[in-house]
């Protein structure tokens, strides 16, 4: 494990870009915080300064992220920085955070426009097709109109095929059963199940997949593609955008969740993704589960998570 490879792996994680995206900001802060706590001391000097710069830029992005989750994850990052960084860097980080917190507060007070707009069903479904799993689940909890659009079967079918099983888009041998997911996931809703392709309840299918594999339940920030061994943000997989894998060929989709701790281990070169991807299910449920306890459940109202 040479210096070059650690650096490469860090760059593959793409934290700097993720911090600039408001919806990935909390996950990126969480990951960066863990890296500071667990890996900073073991990193080569030049990578340490990169991590430090990313921490500062995280604080600089804070005013743009006007969500409660964003603010709390920035706090978590600050705590991690106070623990891990040497004196001078720590002082810089803390002052940067203080400036950012003030700007954040100022901007949140300035937000005031009134009136609501009723968006028609089709438009809502179209908007939701750009959302990832976590957002689609929470958007159904907002109000009745949005709930009825959020449970649209087509959306969940697209999501299912992007996350779990892309057979619905590929040509498969059994043409009649193209759209039917694995036997145990199928739930038929509505009248007669004569033609299985019509009556599949895709939202239920997604839910069952998530409940079956424990690591999906806890809102993974990151997932791994089993074919190309890349770590991707789970928010990058939406109803419309799937993971474009260079190495998948005609094989079945293999996307698995990965916990932040495992991401740090990957960074330090302690684990191989190819090996890990098949073990994830077991190891996440037995292994170090301080992470899984803190991460919120997918289907309930998400609470703000904080890793101590």
């Amino acid at each position: 494990m040479g210096r070059a490879t650690v650096r490469e792996r860090y760059e593959k994680l793409g934290l700097a870009e993720a911090l600039s995206r408001a919806h990935d900001y909390p996950s990126a802060c969480q990951e960066l915080g863990l890296i500071l706590r667990l890996a900073y001391a073991d990193l080569p000097k030049n990578l340490q300064s990169v991590v430090f710069q990313d921490t500062l830029s995280a604080f600089r992005f804070l005013p743009e992220v006007q969500t409660g989750h964003g603010l709390s994850s920035a706090n978590v990052l600050l705590q991690a920085a106070e623990v891990a960084l040497p004196k001078q860097k720590k002082a810089l980080a803390v002052s940067e955070f203080k400036h950012a917190a003030v700007a954040h507060k100022r901007r949140s007070r300035a937000h005031h426009d009134g009136g609501s707009v009723v968006l028609p069903y089709d438009v809502l479904v179209h908007i939701f097709s750009f959302l990832d799993l976590r957002s689609l689940a929470s958007v159904g909890l907002v109000c009745w109109a949005w709930n009825s659009a959020a449970i649209d079967n087509g959306l969940w079918q697209m999501l299912y095929s992007n996350l779990f099983d892309n057979d619905s888009t590929c040509t498969s041998k059994e043409q009649d059963h193209k759209l039917v997911p694995d036997g145990k996931d199928v739930v038929f809703h509505g009248g007669m199940g004569v033609d299985p392709t019509i009556n599949v309840d895709w939202k239920e299918a997604v839910r069952r997949k998530c409940e079956g594999v424990s690591s999906w339940k806890f809102l993974p920030n990151r997932v791994v593609c089993g074919h190309c061994q890349s770590i991707i943000w789970s928010s990058g997989i939406t109803c419309r955008t799937s993971h474009e894998c260079s190495k998948i060929g005609n094989q079945k989709l293999n996307i698995r969740p990965i916990s932040p701790y495992k991401v740090v281990e990957y960074l330090l070169g302690e684990i191989e993704l190819a090996v890990m991807s098949s073990d994830t299910d077991d190891s996440d449920s037995d292994g170090p589960s301080p992470s899984t306890q803190h991460l919120p459940r997918l289907w309930a109202y998400p609470k703000l998570s904080s890793n101590s």
Binding site: H23, D24, Y25, H69, G114, V117, H126, L131, W144, N147
Partner: protein, 365 residues
């Protein structure tokens, strides 16, 4: 602007304009090539040949208002020019969508009705970006949406295809009621009020006993019958309440709903026990004051039942006032005869799950 420049340089070149009329009646004109960029307008022109003059303006769908229309035309005007690079278009788009949420929603809706797909995609993506990463409460704040799902629906997003607007409105009211009750609990106003009520009625009872003994006998028989019927109703309700509330408690296991249902239960039990207290303490022969209380309670209950069965428009009026003021105007006193129709199951004064109420009233029919 390029158009005015062109007009100066080549005044003989007449640009043809298309006339468009919004739903509110205002008429705008716009250059032909800009208007043709919208598929819907393009088709209308080809199909009907309208739009060439003010009198024959093309009517636009109602989702398009004049302000939004001019925004749309800015977009069309920029993009219909063939010679622009992708970078230019992209940076224009990014600047274009910087507006407040409400406007962005209106723009999305209008673009959708005009079938302007690239603009719909652009605005939808922008809205999706605003939604991502927010909690439902934050989303509600951003878009000013009502909180009208029941707690159960929030935990188990239901596939309720029967969109009954009455249920939606009632849910909204229940959410508001729950908040009100929470506040009231803090201030402890209800207890004080009800105590006052009790005292008054006791005093009146005493004064009545001491005062007029004769009129008691005359009304005795009638009162007995009426009071018995009325006693049945409140008692049944209070019996049903704990059952239903407990059911609700079991169904919901997250902290906030159970808190609110507890608050509900306390309030309802207090209310019901108030009725009980009065019933227990007085004789049947007594007293118009207590009878009035019971009448009022019964009327509330009947009214609620009537609401569940009546027409939507008139219900809407009633419901909107129900949420604000619990005291009812007793409009018809000859409701005693109709008491027999209602069983205790029809009417539940409390906050059962909306599904239960709906089933019951449907079952009635």
């Amino acid at each position: 602007m390029s158009e005015s420049e062109k007009a100066i340089i080549k005044p003989e070149v007449m640009k043809s304009f298309i006339w468009l009329q919004c739903a509110d009646g205002s008429i705008q004109q716009v250059e032909e090539e800009v208007a043709m960029f919208c598929p819907m307008i393009y088709r209308e022109i080809l199909r009907t040949g309208m739009g060439s003059s003010k009198n024959y303006a093309i009517s636009l769908p109602e989702r398009v208002n004049p302000a939004i229309l001019s925004l749309i035309f800015d977009y069309c005007r920029f993009h219909q020019v063939p010679g622009r690079s992708n970078m230019e278009r992209k940076s224009f788009d990014e600047k274009f969508i910087r507006m407040d949420t409400k406007r962005l929603c209106e723009l999305t809706s209008a673009a959708d009705s005009l079938q302007l797909k690239p603009l719909v995609d652009l605005t939808s993506r922008a809205l999706a970006r605003m939604i991502e990463g927010k909690t439902p409460e934050e989303i509600r704040e951003t878009f000013h949406l009502p909180d009208d799902l029941t707690e159960e629906e929030k935990l188990e997003p239901l596939k309720n295809v029967n969109d009954d607007p009455r249920i939606r409105l009632l849910n909204r009211l229940y959410a508001r009621k729950r908040k009100e009750l929470k506040d009231r609990q803090k201030l402890k106003n209800t207890e004080v009020k009800e105590e006052k009520k009790d005292e008054r009625s006791v005093d009146e009872i005493l004064s009545f006993i001491n005062g007029d003994e004769d009129s008691k006998g005359v009304k005795a028989i009638k009162n007995k019958k009426k009071n018995r019927k009325k006693k049945d109703l409140p008692k049944d309700i209070s019996r049903n309440d704990p059952a239903k509330v407990h059911k609700k408690k079991e169904a919901t296991f997250s902290p906030s709903p159970s808190q609110s249902s507890e608050a509900q239960e306390n309030d309802e039990v207090a209310f019901a026990s108030n009725g009980e207290f009065e019933d227990g303490d007085i004789d049947d022969e007594l007293d118009p004051a207590v009878k009035e209380e019971l009448d009022r309670l019964v009327l509330e209950v009947e009214d609620f039942a009537r609401r569940l069965n009546s027409d939507w428009p008139e219900r809407m009026q009633e419901i909107l006032s129900f949420g604000q003021d619990r005291r009812l105007v007793p409009n018809l006193m000859n409701s005693n005869g109709s008491l027999k129709k209602f069983t205790a199951d029809d009417v539940v004064v409390g906050v059962p799950s909306m599904v239960a109420v709906d089933e019951k009233s449907d079952g009635e029919r």
